[in-house]
Symmetry: C3
Subunit: 276 residues, 3 copies
C-alpha cells in the first residue's frame, strides 16, 4: 500500500490537481470527511471539491444526471470520485476511467454512463491492484473510504491508470437504461429525469428540440408556454424553459413546480412545437 | 473570454486569495460544485469558502443578514460572490463592488445593502464586459455559473474592478427596506429579522440599546429577562440575550425558541429597559 | 492578540497543515463560514476540512462517536476543532489536547472522551491565554468563532500547546458515560449508540465480539442473521453486519433500518453468537 505522499516528490506541479466527490452519504455523518482525510493522508496538496453528497440514497439515475452536468466545468486532469453504490460488497466491479479531459472513479453500475455517452474514452481499468487501496483488506461496506478515495488520490497525483488494475473493454461497462424521448407528428413525449432543490422539473428533452421554435409543455391538464427565463412569468406562475443544463424544464417563478404540480421523478410530459 | 489561469503568471502572490460563495442553491444539486469548477478553471490557486447555500429560496432578507455577519471575518481582498437572484434573466443589473477590505459580486437586488450600510464603498461597476464571463452567451437562468463565479475568480486573481464593466453611481444601487426599530418612552419595538438553525429568534434591535442596562423582551404573553448566555437559564427555559452577531435575540437553553414561541420571520417584539 | 499570518514566516512548511471542524451549527447559517474566515485571517495557508456540522443540536454523544470514527484518517499534526457546546458561556473549561498524531480543541464536556480512550495523551491545557483568541473580550455564545477556531489555527501553524494556557491533569477531563455492553452466557446486550443518514442502526458492540463466529442480532421480535454486507440480503430485507466503523450494526439493503424498526438512539439490542 502506497500511503505516504513523500512518494510524490514532484508535488510542486501537483498542488492544483483536483479531486471531486459525489455520493449519497449525506452531510450528517463523518463519511465524507473521512474520505477527505484519506485523500489528504495520501497527498495533502490535492484540492477536494464536493459536487454533492445529497443524491437520494441509492439513486443512480440522479447521480448519473449530476455527473453529466458537473463534468464539463472542471480543469483538465480532474479526478471525479462518485460513490452511489447499492452493490458495495457484491460482485459489481470497481473501476477507473480515463477520458479526454479527466478521470472517473467508482462502482461499475451505470453511474458514469451519461458522461461516457458524451465523451471519448481513452481507457478503463478494474481496480484490482490493492497497492493503491487504503488497505489490502477493505471493509465490505465503505469502498469510498477504502478503495475509491485512495485510488482517486493516487490518480490525481500522477499514477498512470494502468497501474491501478486490469484493463477492461469499455463496451462491457454497465449502462443505465433511461426512458426514451419519443418524437411523433403530434409532439415529443419525454419524462422528468431530475427534480432539483427549487422544485424545478427537468425533462429528458434536449434544448435542440425546441430552440428557434414556439413551443409549449403539456403535463396533466396544464399547457405551459415555452419562455426564456423565470421572470417572463408573474410571481407564482408556471413557466417552461430551457434550463442552464440544456434540457426543457418546468418551473414556477419564485416557487416550486414540484409542489404545484405534484409530479414525481419519471412522470411523463409532452412538448408541442410550432403551435398555431 | 479569458479562460486560462496561465494569464495569471504572478500566481505566487495569489495562492491565498479567497472567494466566498453564498446562495439559495441548496446542497442537493451540483449547482454549487459547478460554480467551484468554473472558478478553478479560471485560477486553480484560488481558495473557495462556502458561507452558506441554504438561504431560503429567493429570501434576499436572509442573504443580506448573512452577508453582514460574515463579511468582517475574512482576509483583506476576499471576493464575496452572493447569488440569491429571483430576477435572473430580467433587467436587474449584475454588479461588482469594491469596498475598503474586500469585494462583493452578485445581482443588484438589495442583497448587499446591509454590508454597504456599514462599509466605505470605493467603486461599483455593472458587469457589462463579457470578456470576464464564462461565455459571451450566458444562460438565462444560471448567472452564478456564467457571470458571477467567473467574474469573482478574475477579481480575486487581480483584475482591476474597472475592467469588469461600466462604473455606476453607488447611490443608484437597490436597497432592501427592513421594518424599522421604533424607540418610544415605553420601550423599543422591533421585529425578528432572522431565525437560525437552532431556532434562535434574532431581532433587529442592536446591542447598544440594552448594554449596561437591565432589560427584558416582551413577546406575546411572555416577558423574558435579558441575560448574558444560554446557560443563565435552566435547560428548556426561554432566555433573552445579545447574540454573537450583536443583536438582541430570544433563545431556549438547550432547545428552540422558534418551536416554543411559534414565531415567524418579521414577527414583532418589544424591549423594555431599566425595569423596576 | 496575534492576528497576522505574517507572524508565521515559515509558512512554506505549513501550507499542508489541516484543521478539521465538527459542530452542531448546521449549514443554513454563516456560523461555519465565519469560523473558516477567522482561520484564514490567522493563516491563509491552512487547509480546512469539514467533518460534519449536522450533529443533532447539543448531542455530545453523537459528536463523540463521530470524532472516534474520523480521527484516524487524517495526517499527523491535524488539529480537530469540535464545537458541540451546550455549556458555552458557563464555567465549563475550554481545552486543547495534544495526542500522538494530532490535536483536539473544544469544550471540556466529554466530546473527546471517545478518542481519548483509544489514544495516548501527550498534554492538555486549558485555553486561558487570550493572546491566541480572536479577541480578549469573546462573546458569551460563540466560542467557536472567538476562541476555538483561532486557537486551532494558531496550533496548526506551529504554536506550542503550552503557550495556549495552563497545563491541566488529563484525569480531570470530563467523561461521557455511555450505556455499557453486557456479556452474559445467553449473549451480549448493548444499545444503539448512533443512527446514520441511511438509517443504519449502529450498536456499541465491537466487531471483536462476533468475528469468526456465527451470530445474530435480536431486537424486538426480529432475529437478524449476521452477514458480511448489505447485498447479502434481498433488497428491502433487514441485515446485521459489522459496519466500516468496527461496530455491529443493523441495516436494510436499499432502505432504512430506522424507518423499518422504529428504533431510536439508546434502544437496546442483543447479539447471540455460535447459534445452533
Amino acid at each position: 500500500m502506497v500511503d505516504d505522499w513523500l512518494n510524490y516528490p514532484d508535488c510542486k506541479m501537483l498542488e492544483n490537481r483536483f479531486v471531486t466527490l459525489l455520493s449519497d452519504f449525506g452531510l450528517s455523518d463523518v463519511y465524507v470527511g473521512v474520505m477527505k482525510g484519506v485523500i489528504t493522508q495520501i497527498n495533502p496538496r490535492l484540492r477536494v471539491v464536493d459536487l454533492t453528497h445529497q443524491i437520494p440514497p441509492q439513486n443512480i439515475t440522479a447521480a448519473r444526471f449530476s455527473l453529466i452536468n458537473a463534468y464539463p466545468y472542471f480543469p483538465n486532469g480532474t479526478v471525479h470520485v462518485a460513490v452511489v453504490d447499492p452493490g458495495v460488497g457484491s460482485h459489481r466491479r470497481a473501476i477507473a476511467i480515463q477520458l479526454d479531459s479527466g478521470f472517473l472513479v467508482g462502482p461499475d453500475n451505470g453511474l458514469f454512463s451519461g458522461v461516457l455517452s458524451q465523451t471519448k474514452v481513452i481507457a478503463v481499468v478494474e481496480l484490482t491492484n490493492p497497492e493503491y487501496w487504503r488497505t489490502s483488506a477493505p471493509s465490505q461496506t465503505f469502498h469510498g473510504r477504502d478503495i475509491f478515495a485512495p485510488v482517486g488520490a493516487h490518480l490525481a497525483s500522477g499514477v498512470p491508470l494502468k497501474h491501478l488494475g486490469e484493463t477492461i473493454d469499455p463496451t462491457t461497462l454497465a449502462q443505465l437504461e433511461l426512458p426514451a424521448m419519443n418524437i411523433t407528428a403530434a409532439g415529443i413525449t419525454g419524462c422528468i429525469q431530475y427534480i432539483d432543490h427549487f422544485g424545478n422539473l427537468i425533462s429528458n428533452i434536449p434544448a435542440a428540440e425546441v430552440q428557434g421554435k414556439t413551443w409549449s409543455v403539456v403535463v396533466g391538464k396544464e399547457t405551459i408556454l415555452g419562455s426564456l427565463t423565470y421572470s417572463d412569468r408573474q410571481l407564482g406562475e408556471l413557466v417552461a424553459l430551457v434550463g442552464s443544463h440544456g434540457w426543457v424544464e418546468i418551473a414556477v417563478n419564485g416557487g416550486s413546480a414540484q409542489s404545484r404540480l405534484q409530479l414525481d421523478w419519471g412522470a411523463t410530459l409532452e412538448v408541442i412545437t410550432n403551435l398555431g
